[in-house]
Symmetry: C2
Subunit: 201 residues, 2 copies
């Protein structure tokens, strides 16, 4: 989600939402406030610090050190954003301000890595979903088509995914109605942490 | 590694090495410079940004936002440090300055998590080692005894560990001379990244 700058420097270029850290807040409080005030995004399914961007001349004419965050919203939420703000596909970014393209790509890489060793898919998925829907979400985030049976098997084996016991109505062509699944937790967890290194009990 | 503060605030308390970001450097350049200048540590086997610590009153009387780093040295390296500087076991920290205990514990948790899904052990181990030595390193870092055969099997299967083809001389009690191993890479890699999510080729 980027907004188009109305002023110099980098006028008309697209910029990540953010702003100045206030005296009474820490960086996470600050970014949540800025998202709410500036682009009207109030609910995030996951927020984590990404990295500090601190190259001396990343912003012209003054020193600005940025703490970048990765913030996610589920695929079924479409926040109403102001007129100067728009969602862009990561693989087709418009010209961005400052080093913001580098920040976006670092966030994408972080998300991709975490999809392989955490349950972070919960933050992208709706509360309930079919394996086919989940496959679409993982494929979009990873940038390649994921095999649905493999995805279901791996996430289930890691204890991240469970069936709700409900199904969607069968489609017009008949066939077995697709089962609905959910993530077992909506807090970030490293899946299978250390299990492989534990001594046999 | 902590140094004992000689001045207020928090005089005599133990502090992480660090200092002020200079106008011409980014945060990683800065922390490497401070480690070299202040505690004479020039070689780190791995350095990564940990997190920004930014609570408004973390340092009394002025606003200080800290970018904390995790820096590792191998177990066979023992840097000569100044008189006011000392290594401390994480589980027996002396009284620390400001929020530095919280930073140390966050670094420990990051290291423990990465031991389970990356090859980060390379940064703690000597260039060559026996499985028994490696087990000692992993056990110390994780805080519990790791089974050596399991450790060898898992790291080998992930492609992180390989035999050098050499052995240590047999001990005085005879028996098979222990084989020497090395990490296949000395750059941080997520082990088995995405492999589980790739469609069958």
């Amino acid at each position: 989600m980027l907004w188009q700058r109305a002023r110099e420097p980098d006028v008309h270029r697209w910029s990540l939402p953010g702003g100045r850290l206030a005296a009474t807040e820490d960086v996470e409080t600050s970014i949540r406030r800025q998202l709410a005030e500036k682009v009207d995004v109030h609910k995030l399914s996951h927020v984590e610090q990404l990295s500090v961007f601190s190259a001396p001349h990343r912003v012209p004419d003054r020193r600005v050190v940025a703490t970048a965050f990765l913030g996610l919203v589920p695929s079924d939420v479409d926040p109403e954003v102001p007129a100067d703000t728009r969602w862009h596909p990561v693989e087709a970014l418009p010209p961005t301000a400052f080093d913001h393209e580098q920040i976006v790509l670092a966030a994408r890489d972080r998300l991709r890595a975490k999809l392989s060793y955490t349950n972070i898919g919960f933050a992208l998925a709706p509360a309930e979903f079919t394996v086919s829907e989940l496959r679409g979400i993982y494929s979009a985030a990873l940038g390649y088509q994921v095999a649905p049976t493999n995805l279901q098997r791996v996430l289930t084996r890691r204890g991240a995914l469970e069936p709700t016991g409900r199904t969607l109505p069968a489609g017009p062509a008949g066939g077995r109605p697709p089962a609905l699944f959910r993530f077992t937790s909506r807090d970030l967890q490293v899946t299978d942490p250390f299990a492989v290194f534990r001594p046999p009990s």
